[in-house]
Symmetry: C2
Subunit: 105 residues, 2 copies
DNA sequence: TGTTCATATTGATATTCTTCGATATCAAAC
DNA sequence: GTTTGATATCGAAGAATATCAATATGAACA
């Protein structure tokens, strides 16, 4: 089974590729169909499909089929969840017992 | 030269490994020395050094040398910057001209 | 100065990821 | 039903990453 660290890592891994960041940026101005995204990026069709799958599975993006076309948009919930996650993992806890290192340093 | 997409991708790439997420979690409760982190993870010393380098270079972690020991802690500024970045790239823009796809779909 | 100990770097290997071309699926239109 | 067009999946190649063992560096201390 996958632990929570791996699951969280997967969320950020979705953002760790420049092509996927470009796709997300395109979606900031609204829903886009796959062919339009493909036209703006310098990648092949199967590569785009792969990236869209990662973005959808990580929750950042939602997809909708309309006939033979696929439309993609940013998921408000998914993006919020990622922000909450980032906030959670980077918050310094206050009751912070400096206890000293058990290895003596 | 590296474009901003690559630079941003690098930030999230730092969070895309479960060992690094575990390290960050340890640092949430305060500064830790390398040997202590090493004792809690199931990785070799050179591997830890590699991960710490990535965490420091991405801005999430600050380091401080004290004699032969290295101490690591979460960087408030670095974490804030990452949160701002995530917020920026996932915000849906309002003046959102749905214009229709130029490819006819 | 030489030894010891903690950490960093190097070089090698296994794994994972990105990308592509080819093919499969799926929906519309004929 | 067959064809056409859009997207998904498959299989392979190359690049990037995680990891380790070995070695180098750097700091304290004898």
């Amino acid at each position: 089974m996958e632990n929570s660290y791996e699951a969280n890592a997967k969320v950020f891994k979705a953002l760790s590729d420049s092509n996927r960041l470009m796709i997300i940026e395109m979606l900031q101005s609204g829903e886009r169909c796959a062919c339009e995204i493909l036209g703006d990026l310098n990648i092949g069709q199967s590569t785009l499909s792969h990236h869209m799958k990662i973005l959808c599975e990580s929750g950042f993006v939602e997809c909708r089929r309309e006939g033979k076309w696929m439309y993609y948009s940013l998921s408000k919930e998914g993006c919020e969840a990622a922000k909450k996650l980032l906030d959670k993992i980077t918050t310094v806890k206050e009751n912070n017992q400096k206890g000293g290192c058990k290895y003596g340093c």
